[in-house]
């Protein structure tokens, strides 16, 4: 029973990590009023860049770094097209996802089915050996802890720092922010690049830690869940964490139920984490005032300084 609980908790956290990373990035992007629907594409780019680099060099750290850069590069492409050239953000984001999927499949054709070095799990003497608590709290790889740290810093930064205030202001009214002298477009570039970097990291986690293999479309829609999480968490960081964990828990449960051989169609079970997460988050975020208060009013709206 204890083993089962440990397995449940450990795999919940593991399954939640890529969602949490990607969603934290998208939260920052949306806070400044940009809707980037290319998360799935950026994650796949990160996954293949990380996997290929780790495979060629044998150094996982370089793989993680490459994933980060790949995500950022795609995000900057998005920023160039949608912020500088003023193309429609929704269409550009969708195109980015389609591009990321195709391009990663092309690059990854030679890497299918070969193993890569895996991101090592943390092992702290004594602490990790504590029964139950040890593996659950101290037994993950570095990206898991990094994802918590980033979420914490982002939450604190948005709520309590001047930088966070500027980010919120740009997302709430870009005209007013411009009138006060804030450089709207560069600030948005920065946020979009940050979101891309985190999506890249999320991809690296998928291909170097979660399932250390490359397979085409291996993110399986997690990028989309991350985008949905941001909206249904009503742009509040803590709720991202809860939503991601909930998704992770359902993921484990659906696999477990499948393993038990219960007579439920497996397609339905695979869909359960996606459906369940969205349903629960919709239920808890129905408060209209709450959404009005947290939703960036400029979300998806193009900005052009009036000359």
């Amino acid at each position: 029973m204890t083993e089962l609980a440990v397995a449940f908790l450990v795999s919940t956290v593991a399954a939640a990590t890529p969602l949490l990373l990607a969603a934290t990035g998208e939260l920052v992007v949306e806070k400044v009023g940009v809707l980037n629907l290319g998360v799935e594409g950026m994650m796949l780019a990160g996954a293949i860049a990380g996997f290929a680099t780790a495979n060629e060099t044998g150094v996982t750290t370089l793989g993680v770094l490459a994933a980060l850069l790949a995500g950022t590069a795609l995000a900057l492409l998005f920023a160039l097209v949608s912020l500088t050239l003023q193309a429609n953000q929704t269409a550009t984001g969708l195109a980015l996802t389609i591009f990321g999927r195709g391009f990663s499949a092309l690059l990854g054709a030679g890497y299918v089915g070969i193993p890569a070095p895996t991101l090592p799990k943390l092992h702290i003497p004594f602490l990790t050996d504590i029964p139950v608590l040890g593996p659950v709290v101290f037994g993950h790889d570095i990206l898991v802890y990094l994802s918590f740290a980033i979420l914490g810093v982002v939450a604190w930064c948005i709520r309590s720092t001047h930088l966070g205030l500027i980010l919120r202001a740009v997302g709430d009214s870009h005209d007013a922010a411009h009138a006060l002298g804030y450089a709207v477009v560069p600030i948005r570039y920065g946020a979009v690049a940050f979101g891309g970097a985190l999506a890249g990291l999320a991809g690296a986690y998928m291909s170097l830690a979660y399932t250390p293999l490359w397979a085409q479309d291996m993110t399986a829609g997690r990028g989309w869940v991350a985008v949905a999480l941001v909206t249904f968490a009503a742009w509040r960081p803590l709720w991202l964490l809860i939503g991601a964990w909930f998704f992770g828990a359902l993921m484990y449960l659906s696999l477990y139920v499948q393993a038990l051989g219960v007579a439920v169609p497996s397609a339905l079970l695979s869909a359960l984490p996606y459906i369940g997460t969205v349903v629960v988050l919709v239920l808890i975020s129905r408060d209209r005032r709450l959404i009005r208060l947290h939703r960036p009013a400029m979300l998806g709206r193009p900005f052009q300084a009036r000359a």
Partner: protein, 518 residues
């Protein structure tokens, strides 16, 4: 120290030119602001004042022209550059962040971290000192127009600029608050901060400003000392024609039938910090104009929402339009029984800014103007209706196909009032009929309202401008804390007596909200 000489003008602009597609907004305009001077910038809506000040503040880039600041020729490419020079601006619209608190909004306007230390306390201090009550922790979304303007003013006062541009800063203040603000502005001017003051209230300009630059149709037309001219003379230079006063109407006979009756109208505000309406009972006869005075945020927006049907009242009998119980009805049903309404906010509430004037005319007038045939929009009649509004109300625009947002505030207001008046309403309710509207446009709107009343309609004017209420209304009531006082005949009321009713309750309100937040 190479301190620039304290003599010579603070700001000199010459040959400022800005061409917009289809409109030469500024045509070789010049402006000189001396040190320690309160300088008025006058002109009708659409005269090019906003364009000119936006060029000073770096929001709009001039096509040609020279700006000399403290003796140095400068270019001001961004608002940040303007701030570094020491130029601050109180905007009339769009410079507040709805989802942020008062303190956060003000913090965003301050350049350095040092200035933000102890900001909350300083906001409280300045707001009490200058009679601009503000709760630093409230979210702007929940604040009224008047309260929002207070934030703008406090924000600028915190910055200690050398030149302060104020666009219509007093439109929503009570007479006593205006006096307090003037004390502040005069003190600022004497302490070395020049003020460029844009206002349509010529009486205010005469009292406050030592020089005035008057613009018309994008050009300079005069520079004068406003104290040496009468209000009428100033207005006539501005609009280049003789100004008539609205002709007084014969008084309504006491036994005309009531067309709008409110019976203990009680409405819970949808807004956490809004003011709920409590037991409002009054009646307006056909041919009568009732003025509702009051300081912003005392239930005015709830009152117009309750009357228009945007917030239906609980009991049908609490709103009677021509004897029909209408409390449960939505806006379209109330329009069907000849109720027409003009809300306060022009952009986004009164008009869809990205749609054409014709489409906007259609949205409220399709029913009474019979603009739909078998579910299809009758384009011809809609265009004719919009064109009629434009002609009859002298709306300055390129035509009914122009986007609503391309119009200046006063012109859009004329269009929106015209849209309702031309639907021949039996009951007309207008919130802030002439907010931010110039003298010529205000006169046109006032005359339309009076003509409508003379034709037998019952009219309610909700306004924070006491002068306007005294000109228009037959009877005056005061709204404070969601309650409406017993109306008094305008003949037996004075600005002081009404002002006291408004002001006294406002202090009670502040005390109330302080208790509520304690």
């Amino acid at each position: 120290m190479n301190e620039s000489t304290p003599s010579g003008p603070l700001l000199t602009m010459t040959g400022m030119t800005k061409q917009y597609p289809g409109c030469l907004a500024n045509d070789h305009v010049s402006l000189t602001v001396e040190r320690n001077q309160i300088h008025a910038l006058l002109g009708e809506n659409g005269a090019g004042k906003s364009t000119l000040v936006k060029m000073i503040y770096g929001v709009v880039k001039p096509d040609a022209g020279e700006i000399v600041w403290e003796g140095q020729q400068v270019s001001i490419p961004t608002p940040g550059a303007a701030q570094r020079l020491g130029i601050g601006m109180v905007f009339q619209h769009f410079s507040l962040f709805e989802a942020l608190t008062v303190t956060e909004n003000i913090a965003l306007g301050l350049a350095t971290a040092k200035e933000r230390v102890g900001l909350r306390g300083r906001i409280l201090q300045i707001s009490t000192e200058y009679g601009l009550p503000l709760d630093p922790d409230r979210v702007v979304h929940d604040l009224s127009v008047g309260e929002r303007q207070r934030i703008e003013i406090v924000r600028c006062l915190l910055q200690n600029p050398k030149l302060l541009i104020m666009d219509e800063p007093t439109s929503v203040l009570t007479p006593s608050e205006v006096q307090k603000l003037f004390v502040t502005l005069r003190r600022l001017a004497s302490e070395g901060c020049s003020i460029l003051y844009i206002s349509h209230k010529l009486e205010e300009v005469r009292a406050l400003c030592s020089a005035a630059t008057i613009m018309r149709l994008g050009r300079n037309v005069a520079r004068c000392a406003p104290a040496g001219k009468t209000v009428k003379q100033l207005a006539e230079i501005m609009i280049n024609m003789d100004l008539r006063l609205p002709t007084p109407r014969p008084l309504v006979s006491g036994n005309a039938p009531a067309r709008l009756v409110l019976d203990r109208l009680t409405i819970r505000s949808h807004n956490q910090f809004g003011t709920s309406l409590k037991d409002i009972s009054l009646s307006i006869a056909g041919g009568e104009i009732l003025g509702i005075a009051g300081i912003a945020g005392n239930g005015q927006s709830e009152l117009i929402d309750g009357l228009s049907g945007e917030i239906p009242a609980g009991k049908p009998e609490s709103v009677l339009i021509d004897g029909v119980a209408a409390g449960h009805m939505g806006p379209a049903e109330r329009r069907r029984i000849r109720g027409c309404f003009v809300p306060e906010e022009r952009n986004g509430h009164g008009a869809v800014t990205t749609m054409s004037l014709a489409d906007n005319a259609f949205l409220s007038g399709y029913l009474r103007g019979a603009l739909v045939r078998f579910g299809v929009i009758d384009k011809k009649r809609t265009l004719a209706f919009a064109d009629d509004i434009i002609k009859r109300f002298d709306v300055r625009t390129t035509g009914p196909r122009a986007e609503a947002r391309s119009l200046s505030g006063g012109n859009l207001q004329k269009f929106l009032v015209g849209r309702e008046v031309l639907q021949d309403p039996g009951v007309l309710v207008i919130n802030q009929p002439t907010w931010g509207v110039d003298a010529g446009a205000a006169l046109a709107i006032h005359e339309a309202i009076m003509a409508l009343a003379q034709g037998g309609a019952a009219v309610m004017i909700i306004s924070q401008d006491l002068d306007e209420i005294f000109v228009l209304a037959d009877r005056i009531a005061v709204i404070a804390g969601g309650r409406v006082s017993e109306p008094v005949a305008t003949r037996s009321a004075t600005v002081e007596s009404i002002g006291r009713l408004m002001g006294g309750t406002s202090e009670d309100m502040v005390a109330d909200s302080a208790v509520a937040h304690a």
